[in-house]
């Protein structure tokens, strides 16, 4: 990976995240494309706690950490300020977890997207509030164990579809990607970089600590999620033109679920619910995409 794809390496060795952290790799790939002229704005979550104990930092770009609900709007302030200073060519990277995006930060994100604020927003999705110890978010899949959805009180709701919400803002570009497919991820960042306005990337970031899988399986789990269509890859242009990313043939969700401790306690009916959610979302997506498939 190092020698073949990464040239700039803006993530220095020695971050304080868990071994095998998918979210740290997502940053590595995203910054590889965006380059050193990038300002990162991130809220509470795993990232600002593992970026380094001040004054140490594992990133070779500036990082502003802001309150949990504010990522997109704090980034909008940075954008306005840089524009006013004639620095329109500096990338503003708003960077938040699923909690900071799907839940508490959604209002600010909508506010920024509605004005098509010129920034790249990356949601690294590990499907729970990991930093506070694995609690459910609205990105948590149904039947998945978290500390607030224990076996005694399981989550029944499907995962919220954040890309549909962002597409409804008619932003120029929204896409999903998985840390398991770095090349595709980076190509999508490249496309986002070439556009102006609000660009939204929803990136699956496997998390050995919260998902209860072996640290060496980070990439594989993230690929399996795509293969079984629990996390399909696609792009949306201007909120209306949907296009599927070519993916390998569909595999059973069981292959994905069985790799992770967080799904271990699922009952047969819960597995049914999970499969139904995956199938229905996949059908809806196929309908929206029609014959469109990215080359």
């Amino acid at each position: 990976m190092n020698s073949k794809i990464l040239k700039q390496e803006l993530l220095a060795p020695g971050h304080m995240g868990c071994p095998g952290c998918g979210a740290s790799l997502v940053m590595r790939y995203v910054l590889e494309v965006l380059g050193p002229k990038t300002m990162v704005v991130m809220p509470a979550g795993c990232w600002p706690t593992f970026v380094g104990l001040y004054p140490s930092t594992c990133l070779r770009v500036p990082v502003m950490s802001v309150p949990f609900a504010t990522t997109a709007m704090a980034a909008a302030g940075v954008r306005a300020s840089l524009n006013r200073q004639g620095k329109g060519d500096t990338n503003v990277l708003a960077w938040a977890g699923d909690g900071g995006t799907f839940d508490i930060g959604l209002q600010a994100l909508s506010g920024a997207a509605e004005k098509n604020t010129d920034l790249i927003y990356v949601c690294y999705d590990n499907e729970a509030y990991m930093n506070t110890g694995i609690q459910r978010s609205s990105a948590t899949p149904p039947g998945c164990w978290t500390t607030t959805t224990p076996a005694s009180a399981p989550k029944v709701e499907p995962k919220k579809n954040i890309v549909e919400i962002m597409a409804a803002h008619r932003i120029p570009y929204a896409a999903t990607a998985s840390v398991g497919y770095p090349r595709d991820l980076m190509e999508k960042v490249e496309k986002a970089k070439g556009l102006k306005g609000t660009r939204f990337l929803h990136i699956l970031a496997s998390c050995p600590t919260g998902w209860r899988h072996e640290t060496e399986l980070t990439m594989e789990v993230a690929r399996k999620a795509v293969e079984c269509r629990a996390f399909p890859l696609y792009e949306v242009w201007d909120g209306v033109r949907w296009s599927l990313t070519p993916m390998v043939a569909k595999t059973p969700v069981a292959d994905y679920l069985n790799m992770q401790g967080r799904f271990k306690g699922m009952t047969a009916p819960q597995r049914e619910v999970f499969q139904t959610w995956v199938n229905e979302d996949w059908e809806r997506l196929r309908e929206k995409c029609g014959d469109n498939q990215a080359a």
Partner: protein, 386 residues
């Protein structure tokens, strides 16, 4: 140039003359005119700034934080519910040492809904680390905005300029509007030593250890306490250039005063009249307009009331379970340093006017005269239903 202008319009014009670079704000009565005027100034090109029409006050302050941390002069305006919604961000802006200036129109907090003046909104934010200044008239709104940026950018702390809802926000007065060149000479462009910058990558606000954390708090307290002096100096220089002073403590006939009526905001005018009337009755009275509440101007306040035996303190606010917040602050300032008696009165909230007569009657009661209100805890409540 002389101009007849309203408080909220003045705040917008002052922001224009201060050449703010990023404005992020959300409308709320009675501040709204300020954000409307600023959109128009920027729209017409009379102010070269970026305007972010945010979706909430929490976001307004978030955007100001982003702008200020990257080296732009940021401005916002709010009131009551909006200020309360911003609470988390107020701590963040002050902790981040960002010299943002914000207008707050003092208004009651719900429930029940009431749009009129009440100081509980801003006073209940006094521990967030913002400098708090309370304007007494429209000229004060204009001038204190320039002083605020001067002080904020020197000590690297945010400043909240407070205007009594309606009494000041919606009152028009004849004021002196300084020329742009004069303001530019007083207020140079914002050029911070430190900012978030791609040429010098570092982290802002991530995690730090206990020693550094405590040291940062200590430094912040040190710098906040220094604001009393910094503001006084900035006000003195302003007075030298423009002939008007806006000190943290503004006294009226205090030299020999045995009784001092203390107010914040617009009630200062009525307090002066009340003190003058009481003098005619033989009461050696003066009045004190406490313009700065945070940092509490300990030195100037103690000095100003050093000869007083009675302080009659008006609170348009209350700290439930405690007493009036201004009275509390004054007691804390004078504890062990003065034997003056502090008489706390709670009045003037939700649209109740504070008149010269009301303040004179309160003073008479403090000196043993007829009861005016209901005693409760350490305060006397005026015009309340028993």
């Amino acid at each position: 140039m002389k101009k007849v202008i309203m408080g909220t319009e003045t705040a917008a014009l002052a922001a224009v003359l201060a050449r703010v670079q990023v404005v992020a704000a959300y409308p709320i009565t009675p501040q709204t005119v300020t954000v409307e005027e600023l959109s128009d100034y920027i729209g017409k090109g009379e102010l070269d700034a970026e305007y972010i029409t945010v979706e909430s006050e929490h976001s307004a302050m978030a955007a100001c934080v982003g702008a200020s941390a990257t080296g732009s002069r940021a401005f916002t305006a709010t009131s009551s519910q909006g200020l309360a919604l911003m609470h988390e961000m107020l701590h963040h802006a002050a902790g981040g040492r960002l010299p943002i200036v914000m207008l707050n129109a003092n208004r009651a907090l719900s429930p029940p809904w009431n749009l009129y003046c009440d100081h509980t909104d801003s006073l209940s934010q006094r521990d967030t680390g913002w400098v708090q200044y309370y304007c007494c008239d429209v000229q004060d709104v204009m001038d204190s905005t320039f002083i605020a940026y001067r002080v904020a950018e020197k000590v690297m702390l945010p400043v909240m300029i407070n205007l009594d809802g309606f009494y000041l926000t919606h009152t028009s007065e004849v004021i002196d509007v300084p020329d742009q060149e004069e303001v530019d000479r007083y207020l140079p462009p914002y050029d911070p030593v430190d900012k978030v910058d791609v040429d010098n990558p570092s982290t802002y606000g991530c995690v730090c250890g206990a020693d550094l954390f405590s040291s940062l708090k200590y430094r912040r307290q040190m710098d906040t306490l220094a604001v009393e002096q910094a503001w006084q100096e900035a006000s003195d220089e302003f007075a030298a250039r423009f002939g008007r002073s806006h000190a943290p403590v503004q006294g009226h006939n205090l030299d020999d005063a045995e009784v001092v009526i203390v107010t914040i905001g617009t009630a200062g005018g009525a307090a002066q009249l009340a003190a003058d009337a009481l003098r005619k009755e033989g009461v050696v009275a003066g009045s004190l307009n406490l313009a700065m509440v945070r940092p509490f101007p300990h030195q100037s306040f103690r000095q100003a009331v050093s000869g007083a035996k009675h302080l009659v303190v008006l609170d348009r606010d209350v700290s439930y379970g405690g007493e009036g917040i201004v009275a509390q602050e004054i007691k804390s300032c004078l504890y062990g340093k003065s034997s003056a008696q502090v008489h706390g009165f709670i009045a003037g909230a939700g649209g109740m006017d504070i008149t010269e007569e009301l303040l004179a009657d309160m003073t008479r009661e403090a000196l043993g005269g007829q009861k005016q209100g209901l005693e409760l805890g350490d305060s006397i409540w005026i015009k309340v239903l028993p």
